[in-house]
Symmetry: C2
Subunit: 385 residues, 2 copies
C-alpha cells in the first residue's frame, strides 16, 4: 500500500453562516487547502455530507462543488455515514490515492444546518438512527444519548457532575481556536446549572450544530518527501468499523464495539498503541460519547472514562489531551463536516501550527469520527514525519 500524506488543510469558522450557501462554505475550505498545499488542481474530490438533500434540497454535491471550485470534469462524489461522513471523505481519498487510480485528491466535509427550522434539522438528524426501531418512536439523537448516559451512570455509579470536565476542557480549548463556534470558557457551576435537554443530558453535555466546511489535500507521500517547508503529515492508520444502527440491539449498549475495532485496526497499521498517541480528537457530540470513545479506544478501563477527565488527564498538559481545538462541544458540530475538522485540527497540531492551542512536542495524533450512536466509527492516526 502506497504511503499517503496530507499536504494541505483548510477550514471555515463554524458558525451560523446565513449569508453563505453550502457550496460557498465548501469552496472556501477547499481553496484554503489548495493554497496551503500549493496546488491548483487535483484528480478527484470526495465530499462528506449527511443532510444537504434534506435541508438544502440539494443532493449531488460532488459535481456541484467540483464545478464551483473550477475543476469541472474531475471525478467527484458524496460519501455518507451520518455524523461520520466527514472522516469517510478522507478515507476514500486515502484509498483512491493508495490504489494509484488518482494521484491527488481533495477530501471536504461540509454541512449547513442553521438555515432550516430546529424541527427540520432535528428530524434530518434523526435519520442517522434506525428509522424502524428508533426514529419511528420519535426519539431524537439527544434522547438516544440520554438513555445511554442514564444507563451508564446507573451501571458504573457516576454522577452527572463527574462528566463536567469533558465540557470544561473542550470550552477552555475552544477559546484558543479562532474557528470555534463558542469561545467562552465554562465553569463547574455553569455546567451544573445548564438547562436540561433530555435528562441527564443538559445543554453543556451537548455539542451545538452549525454550518461549516473543512478540507484536506492528499497525495502519495513519496511525491513530497524531502520537500522543504511544512512538516510532512502521513496517514499512518485508517479504519472504518460498523455496529447495529439501533442501540437496543447491541449486546452491551455501553460499549462502542466499532470504536474498539476501528481503533485496534488503526493502531495495528500505525504500529502504535494508545500510549504512543500524543493527542486524541474524540467525537464529543455528547459528554457520554467522550467517555465511551476513550474506553473503547484503550485509554480507560470499561466504565472509567470519566475518571480520566476528573484526574486532569485530558487537558492540553495531561496524559492524553482530547478535543484540543474545542472538540464538537466548543468548535461546533456541523455533522458531515465534523470528521474533516478533526483531521484539519490534528494536522495543525502535528505541524506545530495550532497557535495558542498548540500542544508541545506532538508527533502522533488520533481522530475518531462517530456516525449515529456509534454505528459507524472511523479512526485515523496521523504522524508527523
Amino acid at each position: 500500500m502506497q504511503e499517503v500524506a496530507i499536504i494541505g488543510i483548510g477550514q471555515v469558522p463554524v458558525d451560523e453562516h446565513w449569508d453563505k450557501r453550502l457550496v460557498e462554505l465548501a469552496g472556501e475550505a477547499v481553496f484554503a487547502a489548495l493554497e496551503d498545499a500549493e496546488l491548483s488542481r487535483v484528480d478527484a474530490l470526495y465530499v462528506g455530507n449527511m443532510m444537504a438533500g434534506q435541508l438544502d434540497k440539494q443532493s449531488h454535491l460532488g459535481a456541484l462543488v467540483t464545478d464551483w471550485i473550477g475543476m469541472r470534469g474531475i471525478e467527484a462524489m458524496t460519501v455518507e455515514a451520518a455524523c461520520g461522513s466527514g472522516a469517510l471523505a478522507l478515507r476514500i481519498a486515502l484509498i483512491a490515492v493508495s490504489s494509484g487510480i488518482v494521484t491527488s485528491a481533495l477530501a471536504v466535509g461540509v454541512e449547513k444546518m442553521t438555515d432550516t427550522s430546529p424541527r427540520e434539522t432535528t428530524a434530518a438528524l434523526a435519520t442517522a438512527a434506525s428509522a424502524d426501531w428508533e426514529g419511528i418512536h420519535g426519539v431524537t439523537f439527544v434522547g438516544l444519548n440520554a438513555l445511554i448516559m442514564r444507563r451508564y451512570m446507573h451501571e458504573y455509579g457516576w454522577k452527572h457532575q463527574d462528566f463536567a470536565q469533558f465540557s470544561i476542557n473542550a470550552h477552555a480549548n475552544g477559546v484558543k481556536n479562532p474557528n470555534a463556534r463558542f469561545r467562552s470558557p465554562i465553569t463547574k457551576e455553569i455546567y451544573k446549572k445548564a438547562a436540561m435537554i433530555a435528562d441527564p443530558i443538559n445543554i453543556m453535555d451537548a455539542s451545538p450544530i452549525g454550518d461549516g466546511a473543512a478540507a484536506a489535500v492528499v497525495v502519495p507521500a513519496d511525491l513530497v518527501k524531502g520537500q522543504k517547508g511544512k512538516p510532512l503529515i502521513k496517514i499512518a492508520g485508517s479504519a472504518v468499523a460498523t455496529d447495529s444502527l439501533a442501540v437496543h440491539d447491541r449486546q452491551d449498549p455501553l460499549w462502542l464495539k466499532a470504536a474498539e475495532k476501528s481503533s485496534r485496526e488503526a493502531y495495528s497499521q500505525a504500529g502504535v498503541g494508545p500510549d504512543e498517541i500524543d493527542f486524541f480528537e474524540v467525537h464529543d457530540a455528547f459528554s457520554i460519547m467522550s467517555a465511551l470513545s476513550l474506553e473503547a479506544s484503550g485509554f480507560a478501563e470499561r466504565g472509567q472514562g470519566p475518571r480520566l477527565a476528573l484526574d486532569g488527564d485530558i487537558t492540553p498538559d495531561g496524559r492524553i489531551p482530547v478535543t484540543t481545538m474545542g472538540g464538537l462541544k466548543a468548535r461546533g458540530h456541523p455533522v458531515g463536516a465534523t470528521g474533516m475538522y478533526q483531521i484539519v485540527e490534528s494536522v495543525s497540531q502535528l505541524r506545530g501550527e495550532a497557535g495558542p492551542a498548540q500542544i508541545d512536542g506532538v508527533k502522533v495524533g488520533m481522530a475518531q469520527n462517530i456516525g449515529g450512536s456509534g454505528a459507524t466509527i472511523i479512526t485515523h492516526i496521523l504522524k508527523a514525519d
Copy 2:
C-alpha cells in the same frame, strides 16, 4: 493497479415492493450475489443510494445493510451522485480492492421510491439538479430533459417519432428479462399516442421509477484465476467524470462532456474503442439521453444518435445493442440502484447467462450511469476472460 473481477451478482425484480423495506431489498440482492460468488463474507460494503434520507427517513445505510446481512462490524458507507449513485458503489469497491486495503467488497445499489407520494418522490428527484438555478424555479427532472430534447430536435432537425426505436427496443428487450418492471412490447403507434408529460417527452420517452436493489461481489482477479465454473468477468475500465449541475451553464447543453471524458478514459484503460464494444447499457432515463450518450461515447456523430436507432443498429442483432435487458425504460429506474442493475445485466450477458435476452458471442460490454442531467457520468467496461 490490481486487476479486479466481479465474481457474484444479485438483483431483485424492479417493482412496487410495498411489502418490503429498503434494507430487505438490499439484503435480497446481496444474498443472491454472495451465493453466486460462493462467499459468506466480505471485507467491506459500499451502498449506492440517492434518496433514502428524504423518502425513507433513513440515512446511514452502510451500517444498516451491513447489520441486516449479518456482517455487523465491517467497513461500510453510502456513496451518492444522484441517479449515478449505483455505479459509484462499484467504482469504490473497485478502488478499495485495487488499493489492497480490502480484499473483497460488496457493491449494492438500492432505492425505494414508491412508498411515498409522487409529489414527494418528484421533489426528492429534483435535488439531483441545481437547487440554486433549476430546483428553485420548480423545474422537475422530466422538465429539464424536455428542454434538452426540444432544443436537440430544433438544432438537428429530428422529429419526435425519430426517437421511437429507443423505447421500442428497450421494451422488446425487457420482455425477455424476468426482473424488468415492464414486460410488454410497445409499437410505433403506442409510442406516438402516449400521454404527454413535458412536451416533447411523453410517457414512452420516460423511464419509470420503482423499488429495487442490485449487487455485485468484487475481488482481485488473481484470487480467482483458473477456478473452474463461471467465466471470469474483469473490470477493464472504470472512470467518473463531472460537468456543471445546471444545464444552462454548459457551453453546449446538447453534448454530454462527462460522458465523453469518462468513456474515453474507460476505453483507454481497457485498450478498446467503441468498435470493440459488443453491447452498451445506456442510461436511457429519457430517450433523448440515449441519443446524447451514444454520441458522446463515440457510437454516433454529433446530432446523429437517433440515426443509430432508426437504422436498427441498437437491437440485439444490431451493430451496438443497447439496453439489452430492457434498460431504464422497461427494466425500470430505481435511481440509486440503476447503475448496479446495469452492471449485473452486463455480467449476465458476458457470462452467457442472460437467458432469452442473451446476445451471442459477447466478450466486451460497457455500462454508463448518469447522475442528474449529465453532471456525473460513470462508465465501466467489463471483459469476459
